[in-house]
Amino acid sequence: MSDGDVLAVTEHRQGELRDVSLELASAGRALADATGGDLHVAVVSGDVDAYADELSVDGVDAVHTVAAGDEFNHDVYVAAVEALVNDLAPTQLLLPNSVDGMDYAPAVAESLDRPVVTDAVEVDVTDDGLAVHREMYGSKVETVISIADGPFAVTVRPGEFEPASGTSDPEVVAHDLNLDLDALGSTVEGYEAVDTGDVDITEADFLISIGRGIEEEENLELIEDLADATGGTISASRPIVDNGWLEKGRQVGQSGKTVTPTVYLAIGISGAVQHVAGMKNADMIIAINTDPNAPIFDISDYGIVGDLFEVVPALTEQFD
């Protein structure tokens, strides 16, 4: 192994490779190019041979498979990634900042004694090492964390890097894992879908989406009036659903629904990454927010910097 090698660990769920896997491959390729190393990609558990075929894309030098169980289990992933890192000694370890990534990446980094930076949106190689770009304060501020030369771990934000494509003929290496799968400290029993009720916000043409800016449950009346006047469907950001003011089926975002309406009107929503993940592909995005720096404006076609308690009634009046 040469210095500058990259190991990117992919992920899958219920028989499908998840999108972030090919994004990790392209992020990994760019890093390997910059440091003159090879790109190793790993897939752990499930039908690893089928996944290895799918991972034979441009830029991948080797695919490492670890067959152990069917679905994600953090104890298996920690053991597998540790073994692979000890074997391959990559300088850079790239992991997904998905919910499963959050469940094992920090443990792997801690046990391998590698510094970890999470949720990278950009990774550059500089003369002083690595510059990892990430966001803080609900995406209001971007910071750059420098990592001096040496082994490290970075988790990358899903949806930020172009997925790798094409086909290639990497070496596929099967690894055995020395782990008793019946003696793990955590056991996945199964999956269940959250009960989302009757409305299907994914079918709506015009979504009126409300966030924490509404302040009180009683104030939702303002939004209902606007929905009545316009025929729009009400959806929401997470805090509104966490508070129990609207049912779970109306939540837009990473852990809720992904929507692509003709018009998405975001009212009092800041535009945190987990919200944006569920609505960024709407045809037209309009935002109403008092904060001119709210990240939602970065992805909006039209923006109104103003107080929703003034703007929304004025809007309703136009349609009445």
Binding site: R13, N97, A107, S186, T187, A193
Partner: protein
């Protein structure tokens, strides 16, 4: 069983903040109890009310200013707290994950905690890594992004739901002792009562330095 809840003061910045070379000007920053930790505190207090936890201890890493934040947790029913700090830590703007995990692990070992509850992430730096790194450091089991928790102390295990992407939940059983990172929406965090706020004034916040708990930084 003894429950340890990690709490962090989280910085919120004003709409019209200004950035200079040192970062964000302090005058634009306000501190509050991290949103995710509020749910972790509530989980701990509910375990005490259900008779499952004998004691709920809060721990924070932060300067004296952070007492104000940890008092909010005490006012909601946390029994007492430990605050770890020393001026050497102040130089670092963002404490790295490993340093935090080592400090918190030393406190968890000191307290002999059976269960550690933390938030999924801090709302300011959104690192989302401390809880799981802490579990690894302690040699405890864990689960990240927990949206439902049922602790069976006698059986030495917990049934847990993890919230995955797209409205999917994963059901799992986790051996105790364990660290769980708590997701918003798992419960309804209470508001502190006036009585709670008064009682919090006399609850203990023990200041400790890293050296006190045997960690070199």
């Amino acid at each position: 069983m003894k429950v340890l809840v990690t709490v962090k003061e989280s910085a919120d910045i004003a709409d019209d903040f200004a950035v200079d070379d040192d970062g964000i000007d302090e005058t634009y920053v306000e501190y509050d109890l991290n949103e995710w930790d509020d749910y972790a505190v509530e989980t701990g207090v509910q375990l005490a009310e259900a008779g499952i936890a004998d004691e709920v201890v809060g721990v924070t890493i932060g300067p004296e200013r952070a007492d104000e934040t940890i008092r909010k947790a005490l006012a909601k029913g946390v029994d007492r707290a430990v605050r770890v700090w020393d001026d050497a830590l102040a130089g670092q703007d963002l404490l790295d994950v490993s340093t935090k995990a080592h400090l918190l692990a030393a406190v968890a070992e000191d307290e002999d905690a059976d269960l550690v509850l933390s938030g999924v992430q801090a709302s300011d730096d959104s690192f989302g890594a401390t809880g799981v790194a802490l579990a690894e450091r302690l040699g405890y089991e864990w689960a990240a992004v927990v949206s439902d928790l049922d602790v069976n102390a006698d059986a030495g295990e917990a049934r847990v739901n993890r919230e995955l992407e797209g409205g999917l939940q994963e059901r799992l059983t986790v051996d105790l002792p364990a660290v769980f990172t708590i997701q918003t929406g798992i419960n309804e965090p209470r508001y502190a009562s006036l009585r709670g706020i008064r009682q919090a004034q006399s609850k203990e916040i023990a200041p400790k330095t890293p050296t006190d708990i045997g960690v070199e930084t």
